[in-house]
């Protein structure tokens, strides 16, 4: 069955510190992988995506993610967090024209 696991429900990071949000997936074939961000009361904004090729992908707002097939992981990273990054982050997996399967999300809190 297709599934996405985000093991951290909440993460608190100091402003300026680095960030890594974990995502593990289970999928029958090579999936397409996505990270979306949701600010309170808002919709889902695409941060970055991986389909094939270079396993390190760059996204908007200074985020990057690395696909590791051997670990079935697609962790999201940012070298220096800003207060405006506080939001909920969702990892999702899908395939060509197929539905997205989302993880339960990680809520990022940024402390001064």
């Amino acid at each position: 069955a297709q599934s996405v696991t985000q093991p951290d429900i909440h993460i608190t990071v100091s402003e300026g510190a680095s960030l890594e949000l974990r995502c593990n997936y289970s999928y029958g074939a090579t999936p397409y992988l996505f990270w979306y961000v949701q600010s309170p009361g808002q919709g889902l904004q695409l941060l970055l995506k991986y389909f094939s090729g270079d396993t390190l992908v760059q996204g908007i707002k200074g985020f990057e993610a690395e696909f590791k097939r051997s670990q079935s992981s697609f962790n999201l990273r940012k070298p220096s967090v800003h207060w405006s990054d506080a939001a909920e982050y969702f990892c999702a997996v899908g395939a060509s024209f197929q539905k997205l399967v989302f993880g339960t999300g990680t809520r990022l809190l940024v402390s001064p």
Binding site: Y32, F34, Y36, G43, L100, G105
Partner: protein
């Protein structure tokens, strides 16, 4: 930049009433999706739609739900007789290039 739009942004209804949630996907996109997010939970797939037909639906999408593309621009989700547990944020998405789903801002439905 083109966006997916949704109306209304909020809707309050009485249990047993019919509601129609509207979406305008990005023009020239051909695949459309509805997802929902119950408060505090993950985003769940409801239905996908292509060429005026349902492509896939989840177990959530029972006989109380229906989708329609009544004209060349709108994509609607109808709930015939709402239940308390239908209270959620409903997101519409359309599929663009590189297998990326673009999400609308959502409609928050509250069933009393």
């Amino acid at each position: 930049e083109p966006e997916v739009t949704q109306t209304p942004s909020h809707q309050v209804t009485q249990m047993g009433q019919e509601v129609i949630l509207r979406c305008v996907p990005i023009s020239n996109h051909l695949y459309f999706y509805w997802y929902r997010q119950i408060l505090g939970q993950k985003v769940e797939f409801l239905v996908s739609f292509y060429n005026n037909e349902i492509s896939e639906k989840s177990e959530i999408f029972d006989d109380q739900f229906s989708v329609e593309r009544p004209d060349g621009s709108n994509f609607t989700l109808k709930i015939r007789s709402t239940k308390l547990e239908d209270s959620a944020m409903y997101f519409c998405a359309s599929l663009g290039s590189q297998e990326t789903q673009y999400f609308g801002p959502g409609t928050r439905l509250l069933v009393l």
